[in-house]
Subunit: 486 residues, 4 copies
Amino acid sequence: MCGVFGIFGHSEAANLTYLGLHALQHRGQESAGIVTSDGDQLYAHRGMGHVIDVFPTDQIDKLKGNIAIGHVRYSTAGGSLLKNAQPLAVDYARGSIAVAHNGNLTNAEALREKLEERGSIFQSLSDTEVIVHLVAISTQRAVEDRVADALTLVQGAYSLVCLTEQSLIAVRDPHGIRPLCIGVLRTDPACYVIASEASCFELIDAKFVRDVEPGEMVIVDRRGIRSSHPFTHARPRLCIFEFVYFARPDSVIDGVSVYEARKNLGRRLADEHPVDADVVIAVPDSGVPATIGYAERSKLPFEVGLVRSHYVGRTFIEPQQSIRHFGVKLKLAPVAAVLEGKRVVVVDDSIVRGTTSRKIVKMLRAAGAREVHMRISSPPNQWPCYYGIDTPTRSELIASSHNLAEINQYITSDTLQYLSLDGMVNAIVKTTGGGSNGSSHRHLTTLNEPVPALTTESFCHACWSGDYPIEFIPHPRHRQMRLLDT
Amino acid sequence: MCGVFGIFGHSEAANLTYLGLHALQHRGQESAGIVTSDGDQLYAHRGMGHVIDVFPTDQIDKLKGNIAIGHVRYSTAGGSLLKNAQPLAVDYARGSIAVAHNGNLTNAEALREKLEERGSIFQSLSDTEVIVHLVAISTQRAVEDRVADALTLVQGAYSLVCLTEQSLIAVRDPHGIRPLCIGVLRTDPACYVIASEASCFELIDAKFVRDVEPGEMVIVDRRGIRSSHPFTHARPRLCIFEFVYFARPDSVIDGVSVYEARKNLGRRLADEHPVDADVVIAVPDSGVPATIGYAERSKLPFEVGLVRSHYVGRTFIEPQQSIRHFGVKLKLAPVAAVLEGKRVVVVDDSIVRGTTSRKIVKMLRAAGAREVHMRISSPPNQWPCYYGIDTPTRSELIASSHNLAEINQYITSDTLQYLSLDGMVNAIVKTTGGGSNGSSHRHLTTLNEPVPALTTESFCHACWSGDYPIEFIPHPRHRQMRLLDT
Amino acid sequence: MCGVFGIFGHSEAANLTYLGLHALQHRGQESAGIVTSDGDQLYAHRGMGHVIDVFPTDQIDKLKGNIAIGHVRYSTAGGSLLKNAQPLAVDYARGSIAVAHNGNLTNAEALREKLEERGSIFQSLSDTEVIVHLVAISTQRAVEDRVADALTLVQGAYSLVCLTEQSLIAVRDPHGIRPLCIGVLRTDPACYVIASEASCFELIDAKFVRDVEPGEMVIVDRRGIRSSHPFTHARPRLCIFEFVYFARPDSVIDGVSVYEARKNLGRRLADEHPVDADVVIAVPDSGVPATIGYAERSKLPFEVGLVRSHYVGRTFIEPQQSIRHFGVKLKLAPVAAVLEGKRVVVVDDSIVRGTTSRKIVKMLRAAGAREVHMRISSPPNQWPCYYGIDTPTRSELIASSHNLAEINQYITSDTLQYLSLDGMVNAIVKTTGGGSNGSSHRHLTTLNEPVPALTTESFCHACWSGDYPIEFIPHPRHRQMRLLDT
Amino acid sequence: MCGVFGIFGHSEAANLTYLGLHALQHRGQESAGIVTSDGDQLYAHRGMGHVIDVFPTDQIDKLKGNIAIGHVRYSTAGGSLLKNAQPLAVDYARGSIAVAHNGNLTNAEALREKLEERGSIFQSLSDTEVIVHLVAISTQRAVEDRVADALTLVQGAYSLVCLTEQSLIAVRDPHGIRPLCIGVLRTDPACYVIASEASCFELIDAKFVRDVEPGEMVIVDRRGIRSSHPFTHARPRLCIFEFVYFARPDSVIDGVSVYEARKNLGRRLADEHPVDADVVIAVPDSGVPATIGYAERSKLPFEVGLVRSHYVGRTFIEPQQSIRHFGVKLKLAPVAAVLEGKRVVVVDDSIVRGTTSRKIVKMLRAAGAREVHMRISSPPNQWPCYYGIDTPTRSELIASSHNLAEINQYITSDTLQYLSLDGMVNAIVKTTGGGSNGSSHRHLTTLNEPVPALTTESFCHACWSGDYPIEFIPHPRHRQMRLLDT
């Protein structure tokens, strides 16, 4: 999972990108990068770690120019490599280009093989390097046409921002699997911004304009902003997991408020799986809105039964010998005053391996809970994601090999219930409005018609259903990169 | 504000102290330190920063022995000095001693002058160095008697843990201003722990035994645990601010659950200051329990109207020139879907300077709130704390120079109301029980009788009332230390 | 200027490369890198700074395998960029390849343009990336043939080591401008090493075998070591500056001992430019051997008149306001006992801008020297190097715009004299033998015939004579990379 | 071993102290510290590591005021502890005082016990903390009298600089074991500096005035500079090891040029122990002047047979498994061209354990030397130093348990000879003059009479002779500090 950001036409482009990435930090904490252009030349800085660590003040000052793109990246299985940090920036025959990418290509391996056969060299494992090679060998003249040309060869999920010496280009794949949206500075209506989520606009005093449409390319340059649809039309298939877990609750994606969607998931969960209990608590923080919805519908009191620590670092020392396995205790602590002697409903957004849920149930019981009823605001997670979310392999997903009773037994809850697939999709679809994001749709109809409302057909829910919208055929030569940076 | 921890009789004493400090991190993020003893010798490590940064694995391995104390420290006005990091550890005639201190002495300056007159030298500004000098010059023989002897000369607030080569000593001042409590490992009933708050026990698999009583000294050594009351009796005056803001919600202090206390503050606030509105939201995270109480009593829906960022660092770069003053936006973001068109009650625990509240109100309105009603779960904060909380000077406290109407106007809320002093005290007193902490009181009656229940007379509320339980007379020679480490 | 190292067939390949780079550190302190192969996969680590800082123990442990190459790099005008750190390692159609390069290509710009035209992308400014692209597009099958194929297109100076999954390849350009030599471990006669200078062999307990010949390619793989000459023969033109200044005095290059060569330069300088004086001193450390030669021939006593500091770091703080311009004083200090009242000859290897020489002369006079006679063991430096030494531009070279009298006046010496071009060349040619390096020539005649002895025609001395052996035509499109990492 | 520096009356006092410490860095690389005064308050910064690492620019800016002292410290057996970093700075009844100390007290343990008995606490193992306690309990009024009072109780070697709010005080112990001298800025004749060695004056543009006399106290304050001799007179016993090895060759100590002294040691060594050989080489760098003297007297050619690396760091990685024991090879490399087939005399200043000498002899033979004759410019080192040099214990000194033949056999030299004790002392005594340092003696006779010339009785040579000028009786309670910082 990753987050992307772009801005055109501001004297503090790098600074605003820095702030934008900070607000998108939940989409990736492994590495961060910014590339800017002063009209003639690109300036790049990338590093491992959080945005605030990668960019000390003096680094931002070196990133000159009025155009910028940025990227935050999630830790992937392949390990932490600086050279995989984005945006990727290169020189080619027509100038320089930098690309920041959220998503995953399903035919990257085949494309890479073809590119290598014609003599291309690869310095990373990243799909983004495939895209840049395709841009470089395009026979088109204008850079936006080269980008479009390159992307017609590509399959999979991508929300991209590209930077050239004099333009900013944003593209969302034809299925619109990953979100991408357009904003504009309140203080400067000529200064457009592009971001993975609208929740980052508030910090830089920008307002939401509209989502980039599936299959749309948006170009911003000195002539202003314009849009095209260079790809074959495809059915939109927005990733539902963005609503269930990944996106920030204050974001609105394709017209749907993430916060309201989560509350509706909780309400629906209460409808499908009520329980006779004393109190409803959340696994914080992502489970809170669904829990509020569950509490409202079930008329049970909402309480804070688990407190989340603000101080959990990435490098916490594993204790040795006699004390072990406290795992989730570093992050969560039970509130005995809420739990003691109570029948507790605990709402979480998903169960992956089951180990964390098991620890939570045990922790709640140790703090005095009389009964523990686990309720999950999405269906059993059985399939890996090929479109950009870094999920475990199938064999690690507990629901791919265990049924409901077995999982309930493993996590030691009194009862366990998941939201149904239909229930989930319908809860999202019926979430209307979405706060102020929706209200400015009409401000920029010059750009485009409003995005059509989502229907039950509009989603990718492959990780629950196995219904993959884009085929992923592992290439016969499929392999790890032969070159490993340490 | 600081947090202290101690443990006696565990082969991984340093490791458990490290975990304990992690769970007490909310009481101080500026510096951290651990001192251990292997029976003959003390081992110390202290550093600036968070616990996880100060203690890489190899440092913990160097801290040998079965006894340990630790300390986390809050940033004070005097600046960030490594040499003020605690525990302070010294050699003196009878051996070595290390002390970790939460609180503030009111006669430190006068004691320091007297000590200097007899030839003592001071290497820091810390009150703790005064205590250690007094221990060193005591004419008593046993170390616990020396500590008691030293503390009879001292006035003010202190919750201390001391480490010698072969014992652990915990002391709470006669007024019991700062909390301190005793636990025992579930896996080893002979292994006692001492901590500022019981909320850290869960992480190390310990259970609460009871609070250290005001004026009590607890000694743990090879002979076991024993208790004495070496000081003149005084009226208990527990700091209410621990309940309002400072302590973790999963702690129970002197028999009162912090979480329940906060909910009661919110209920009482709803009773005293109801408002006709659509939704109640909290300023996260400390305001959440009071908000739940307010929502419950007022029968208004509780919603997450402000999202808190997990990624705010201490060293965030201030942007320049055109963008400024986004301040609180780095930490909080509004959820438009909750706020748009609504009459909003927002509950916070206190107003200090008023600048943050003002930004929050403006942020809520910008996100679409139709009305904003600020409700504070404590009275107007008008007086500085002399007992260990690092508050601004009187002139910086908005309530010391402005009345309710003026503050309301400044923060631009539609209405503003504070909880009354009586309301606050009574809400705390009537909070009974407190989760599992209370239930093990009887397990160790050998130690002592149960602590008598708190009454309305049992608190220090000087920061609201100006009613200081211990006189603080600024010394005529009162000064900054003449020596400043950089 | 750079240093390269390679080793084939040792279980501690990375460790030995680390030591080898340490011994080559004088050839480049800006960045360091190592790439290893375990037979299937390459492992890379590169970083900014000295070898000991770039490679903590745990990094070396991650570099698995029995084959390794390494690189140290000098600071170039383009600034300090991590992505320019070598070896460069890439994946291409036939597998992976890593290249470490000492030298400079004269037609890189033109080749780069052609490569971009066919669709190649560039991620750095380094010539090495050009070489790797040419290897990738070669139509040859075997990797050594691809490398040879690539290098036939290349002009300029290069001493390369290349690493593939299963082989080590070393190449020296047809003119042999930069040195490169072969060694073998004393403890394992099947383990060959390649290095820029033989002086690094001692540290890893290897012995010198012979120099790689100009235009020779040496391949080491499981079948053993073999050699070819794939390029058109050219007249050898070894860089004289290696003898004058750059190489370590304990190196032997193409049969000539650097130490003896420098002593001969000093002797010849004394013949050409004697002076009536009391004492001869060196500008340490590079000037010492020439000074010993000058003292021997002139029969004047050699003394240590300038002491060099071991503690000069790269980041020394510039003092402000009242104290300034102490520059060279941080590095050199005069020994008054040697200088006071004396007529002093001071021998240095070259004058670049003249500012350092001026400070040295003033320092010697301030310490009591009665007369200061500057003697330079090479001719006036008037031309930039296009073959890999990072020299200032012509306009910065004092000798390109000032005559002898003017320079003498500027540096405030009593007299100033340079060694003649003929004198320099002849002094090198007549240096015979060269320590133990020469003696093992015959050990590996299976590899090749001994290198023919150097003659007066065998050198590149363009920086003094302007006689460039390879044309360097700045390309019309010649430019800075448009992409700048910060 | 340590170095101290002080300056009074300069607006860039911290900056000049920083430069002074840099020039004294050879006296201690473990830690560095500076304390300044602005007339009212002291400012301190200390850290582990080299001067340039401990003091980034912004740290120096924080050290305000016109008076400063500084300290560099050598690694001692007790390990590397930040809290032992000097200067030590404390508050006491009369104000603040900071002390930087070079030397070692012989009765520190007994004094410490007495101080603890009266109630003093100790935060470090350093002798300096004993001195500061004694100053604090002195009944004298003026700070210089308190310092003098404190030092009358102290035995051992000390060269001190002390800083108070308004004065700089320098003291040298009655035996004058460690050097200490006075300088004055060339640009400001009212600005006095104090330093361990005059060699640091050049860098800050100061000139030597004279040595501080044994037993002299020099006070610099607003009234100017003045001197007193508060202690009982004792026979001067300057440490000879300063001339043999420790001091910089460009220093002049008590009227003797270190460089000339070393040359005379070499000449005398040639007289006592001639050898029929082809070439004389030094173990660089400290052995070079003696080697030049040996070569001059023996009429053998001086050559650079061993090259010293500039890049040896403190943290060099120990290689594993198959390669080991290269030790000294990281630092020294042989020049085969100089050694091959030759009978070599190698001159070093001392042999401690013998392991380094053994490696050097083997390295020279491996590089082709036909014979290796080791000559040492001091007698066999048999006794530990109790006065401030961090020597190994007696059992580790090879000469304390092996005779000449045995050592020669161990280090595998053809012959080995040491300079005699008489020869060493006489060589130093007969070294007259000493460069410009001597010439300004008369400039400040207002300060004091010239120091009388050194005689053969003027030295401490206990490490060779066992003739200790001050008794060191290990205290019965002698112990490690019970408190260990990690």
